[in-house]
Subunit: 363 residues, 3 copies
């Protein structure tokens, strides 16, 4: 197999001057598996399919006690640190559970004030020090580019170790994109797969990073139509639309969310990201009446369509929908745990063992 | 075996209109074992005896390295979340250790500010989301009724899972009641059991939930006499006394704590719960001189009697008593760990395996 | 083997009246292994050599998956509590990882505000309660003498358990001293060992406890020369110099740090401990220009010499030095994890099993 480029073969300056698509090959192991997981752009159709398949196998293996034992032995010799500078119990617990399923011992650094950073140490020193006790870092920070910088720094030491980006700044949250893809793939498994489907995005499409990432990844699947339903001030960025045009993807930009419901295979609702407001109360002024999904909308949604939401939600989806079989947002959470299992197992090369176990015992 | 009623067979409104005694059957599995553990009232003599016996067996099994291995394999395929909205290292660590003994992988949500609740999510959504990664929730909150509500909500989803109440509001703390029963049962194992004993409660009997729960559970044991020694303003509630009268239990209400010491089989001291004061300094005004247990009192306490305290203590018990063999409050803590092991093992149906191991190896 | 004295054979008053050298024998088990680890003075040449050898064997065993399995089974029946009153992610994570390697289940009490201490409980009661769930306590507090007091209290109960001091007040941090010794021993393994070397200490030698502890421990190794390079106001204490004179150790006190570099076998840099300033900005007034190690200094440092730092650092060492093979400070961190593994394994008597495994499989 061809040796892929790696982060120790390029200077930090040169790396940061690349586009994200150009950066992708530097994040991959010689055997083609991901090493660092920093950006959604480092995945393509083939690796997405492999991860989704592996996630499903892990999920099925985990149904039995014997299967759980097999899984929890796979990486029992590894230790991971969850370094979470930003609050997110959701993502934190999902990674936590995924590591536990694979037997990885865990330690966390959650509140940056409980740390030697108080003593005037640089963040880079802190992370490099902490990393010396572990085999992997799962990191969430509010500082754009910091995860990438740490990946580059550690790749250039005697003791490199993989870093997974669990959300950095406004920019990237690659494992969220993976779990969305996995949820779509799993939901349409028995109805012809993800191809030829119509995905409607609704809500704060301007600032939500999950929609931006997912929209790009969907271009890998043939003949998907994307609709962006939002008030003008929260509509999807022109850069994404340009990306879709370049990829020859059919799309539609609209204010009429309710009108899209009967045509949708998947409705992807999102929360207003008012933490990014540039003036106080900016988001409050926007009329959002027509951009939520109500119990009444359930009747207009096709029988095999699904409703997704990255959560947390406010009022975008009425709780009356929660127990409808098309409400996929709780399962979506759980899918996040399985796809993260698949990703971490792949990073450490244990996908082979999982596939063998599955073939022998469950096929 | 008869199928017992369950929380998915009753509406939330109907459930909340029941008395706690009427609620109890909805918390039990079809096989008779507890599923959710929400209220002390869901236990009766038979299940208390079974839990105490199991706790003792677990404790004895845990004495050897082989025994610890056996125990830690029992639930190694399960993951539990400790969701603690209220500070309580004591209860937290006790559950934590109990789960570790049984091999359960753990994750914690302790400080509610480190969470997506900041993003406007409802508490119900948070807990339901977090629950999707785990197989059991152990929950402590300041909100009365919230644990019950979550148990009901989760029981009505596709993926129900058991919830243990680790203290909710002023009301219920069922596993504290269990550990008190276990401590009494264990302490009197060689002196005729819990029957026919005289239990003296002292301190803030009005507001301490542990005394209220324990007092009710003691009615299951024949011929126990209960004495309530407290200043008038902190005396036990009339509802409890009514309950004892209905159950034909002999009781005594007094201001003379010191006078009860020579007659007591167990002295149960409690802390003034001034966090529930309705006006500032309310508790400070009460003269508590005669409601503490001192080194001198040890001489007046019968040789086989015991001193209990749910801890934390302030001045209710002099530290001079700490190493007296009748001071049972440290062991009481440790009993809490064992009875919680027994409870969790029973919820997951592993009591059978434990009893078999015990019969084969230790009997 | 002679039964050594123990903490239950002396009153607290008598114990505190002893010198630290006199206290040392009370911290040892009957079999000669450490029980409590409270002060650097309880180690001497023989036990330091044994710990360093064991740490190296553990490190080598840990290189294989089978080795990791062996290690993680050694103490899988034990549970430890990390009680950290003071922030220190570094020490915390190092102990955490060490325990994980040995299979010890862990629980932490990090933020004292999340605890029943709020309810008016004494610190002694809190620790004694928490201890009832665990088999070992690793404790860091800002209160001088508190760790020792808890060790004495617990040794005088029915359920004693070992306590490791992970840093107490300005005074003691014994495992830091151990990791420094191990780093020196490991670095000079192929160049004649620690004997006959010249160690240069630089920075805040007055207030840094690591230098004070290490300087004393180095007296166990023949013919080591110690140089103290610092501004007058931060120079090493006269008590240490007196100690070195009593031990017949050659030393040198100087303001000329840069002049010592070409003569040093090891440079031990330290941070200004301005958290101990007695007036605001006290440390800021000191001219520290000549007390840092720069990229240019690398050229004047002998090829086989090493640079150490207990971290965190500020500007004492230029980041330009970080990837030089003589920069030992990152590896020093990792050494801390290995020597803590060795220490904990020894406390629980598993050193024998490790040495046997090593002899059978790796020698």
């Amino acid at each position: 197999m061809l040796k892929k480029k790696r982060l120790d073969e390029i200077s930090w300056e040169d790396y940061t001057n690349l586009t994200q698509e150009e950066q992708a090959p530097y994040l991959v192991q010689a055997n083609g598996r991901p090493y660092h997981v920093l950006i959604a752009q480092q995945f393509e159709r083939e690796s997405l399919d492999a991860l989704c398949d592996l996630a499903t196998r892990i999920r099925k293996i985990a149904k039995s006690k014997d299967g759980m034992r097999f899984l929890s032995d796979l990486l029992a010799h590894k230790r991971a640190m969850l370094y979470f500078h930003q609050p997110s119990s959701r993502t934190f617990l999902s990674f936590y559970a995924a590591c536990q399923i694979l037997g990885i011992a865990l330690a966390e650094v959650r509140d940056p004030s409980i740390s030697s950073e108080q003593k005037g140490e640089s963040l880079e020193d802190s992370v490099r020090t902490f990393s010396s006790y572990f085999d992997m870092i799962i990191m969430r920070t509010p500082f754009q580019g910091f995860v990438d910088k740490m990946a580059w720094i550690l790749s250039n030491t005697e003791r490199p170790l993989p870093i997974i980006n669990a959300g950095s700044g406004k920019d990237q949250h690659p494992t969220q994109a993976l779990l969305d893809i996995y949820t779509l793939q799993r939901s349409f498994e028995k109805s012809g797969g993800l191809e030829n489907k119509h995905i409607v995005f609704c809500g704060d499409l301007k600032r939500g990073r999950t929609v931006r990432s997912l929209s790009r990844l969907l271009t890998f699947y043939p003949n998907i139509k994307q609709t962006f339903a939002a008030p003008d001030s929260l509509q999807i960025g022109e850069d994404i639309l340009q990306y879709l045009r370049n990829a020859n993807v059919e799309y539609n930009v609209t204010n009429d969310f309710k009108g899209t419901i009967p045509e949708a295979d998947a409705i992807y609702m999102t929360r207003i990201q008012d933490e990014w407001d540039t003036s106080p109360g900016e988001s409050k002024k926007i009329d959002l009446t027509d951009y939520s999904f109500t119990g009444a909308d359930l009747e207009r949604l096709p029988r095999k369509s699904i409703i997704m939401h990255p959560l947390p939600r406010r009022n975008e989806i009425d709780t009356a929908c929660d127990n409808d079989p098309r409400a996929m947002y709780w399962r979506q959470m759980r899918n996040g745990m399985w796809i993260r299992c698949a990703l971490i197992a792949t990073i450490f090369g244990r996908d082979v063992a999982i596939n063998n176990y599955y073939t022998l015992n469950l096929k």
